[in-house]
């Protein structure tokens, strides 16, 4: 599968495309280069964690066309994808960075669909560092992981567009790229092969 990364140029985004996960990316462009990029040449487009929404909003129409032509857009955490992808309802939350300092502390993140192929690659410990928010998902979306209220933190939407949106509030590229939080590296060690191997382009 061919994967295009959208690289916003922050240290952790550069690290994402040039470091440990470089072999997964066939190309990387800056958000401002999307307009002159043929997205249809790629099976998936990954928008890395913490890409500012103001840099993605101008490209919402082109991304929608790409989706409707059968493409996959992966929107990582802290990207405010609700501002540039269709059908996304995001609710931010106050981030508890310290839950693990409490004896028996539990962030409350759970795998919602253990039989899903992704969870042959990663386990519950690998989706647990902290949360920035959760989603209301459209009818028919496949929820893969939830927060303690049972709201989605990682889901696949193949109903809103002609393609596929993989949406998460988790921000592993940020922390991995900052050399922080081993769980985020474990997550990406499973997530990137999943994106790379399990998704082929949908028929338009």
């Amino acid at each position: 599968m061919s994967i295009l990364a959208i690289n916003g140029g922050a240290a952790y985004q550069i690290q994402a495309v040039e470091g440990r996960y470089a072999p997964f990316f066939d190309a990387a462009v800056r958000p401002e280069e999307i307009a002159r990029t043929n997205l249809n040449a790629y099976d998936s487009v990954i928008v890395l964690c913490r890409t500012p929404a103001w840099r993605m909003e101008p490209h919402a129409g082109q991304l929608r066309d790409y989706l409707d032509a059968g493409g996959t857009v992966v929107a990582m955490g802290e990207c405010h994808s609700e501002r540039w992808l269709p059908g996304i309802s995001f609710e931010p939350c106050e981030t508890n960075f310290w839950w693990w300092l409490t004896p028996d502390g539990d962030l409350g993140t759970r795998i919602a669909k253990p039989e899903h192929p992704l969870f042959g690659r990663i386990g519950e410990n690998d989706i647990r560092w902290h949360l920035h928010g959760s989603f209301d998902t459209p009818e028919g979306a496949e929820v893969l992981a939830t927060n303690k209220e049972g709201r989605a933190i990682l889901y696949v939407d193949e109903v809103t567009t002609g393609g596929r949106m993989i949406v998460t509030s988790l921000d592993p590229f940020f922390h991995h790229g900052h050399h922080f939080m081993p769980a985020t590296t474990r997550f990406l060690d499973g997530f990137m092969p999943w994106i790379s191997e399990d998704f082929e382009r949908k028929a338009a």
Binding site: G9, A11, R50, E78, H178, H179, F180
Partner: protein, 208 residues
């Protein structure tokens, strides 16, 4: 032109941090979204503040403007991990390899107004957890002064460099410096002092 202000480069969806609110209302700090930071805006400022999330590919494209600003005596505060030489002498960040708690111990190596009266140890942890301050270092150029060392080797996690061609850099190789430690007053004070340091540069003095 009034050069007695500092440009805070806004690189994410988040607004300028609250530690800068008062200075913004006083006009000493101007937050500018990164795509709107033009060579003219750079030339018109006494200082630039880049966060750990700054778009370094964009800054590299603006290197000529940044270096002209420094040549004229401008001062720049840099947070985070250097990945691109948007000031020619910046070297790529060197992460600590498999760090453990002692590798995060901070040692003050030289006095600097930004850190006056703030022991390095008070910035070493957030809620008792180390690793927020820095997880490696941006190697300083020859002639720089190391301010804070990290780990037993006292690697230069913070340094200042009076650039031979003019201007100066204050580099903190970690999370944004006004966000480390647990004391809100210290965080505010660090933000104010970074701005004061920028405004004390010759660019600010000459051009007002």
């Amino acid at each position: 032109m009034n050069h007695r202000h500092v440009i805070f480069i806004v690189s994410t969806d988040a607004p300028i941090p609250p530690q800068f609110d008062e200075m913004q209302s006083e006009g000493r700090v101007h937050p500018v979204r990164q795509d709107r930071v033009t060579p003219e805006i750079i030339a018109g400022a006494a200082g630039l503040i880049a966060t750990a999330s700054v778009d370094q590919i964009d800054l590299l494209e603006k290197r000529d403007a940044i270096e002209r600003f420094l040549d004229a005596g401008g001062r720049m505060v840099i947070n985070g991990h250097a990945m691109r030489p948007y000031v020619r002498e910046l070297q790529p960040f060197v992460p600590l390899t498999t760090p453990h708690r002692p590798d995060y111990v901070l040692t003050r190596l030289a006095n600097h107004p930004v850190f006056a009266g703030i022991p390095a140890q008070t910035l070493e942890t957030n809620r008792g957890v180390a690793g927020f301050y820095g997880r490696g270092h941006n190697p300083p150029p020859a002639g720089a002064t190391a301010l804070t060392g990290i780990g037993p080797e006292r690697l230069p996690v913070d340094w200042v460099w009076q650039r031979p061609g003019g201007g100066a850099l204050f580099v903190h190789s970690g999370n944004d410096l006004w966000g480390v430690g647990d004391d809100p007053a210290v965080k505010r004070s660090i933000a104010e002092r970074l701005v004061d340091w920028c405004l004390a540069g010759s660019h600010a003095e000459v051009c007002t």
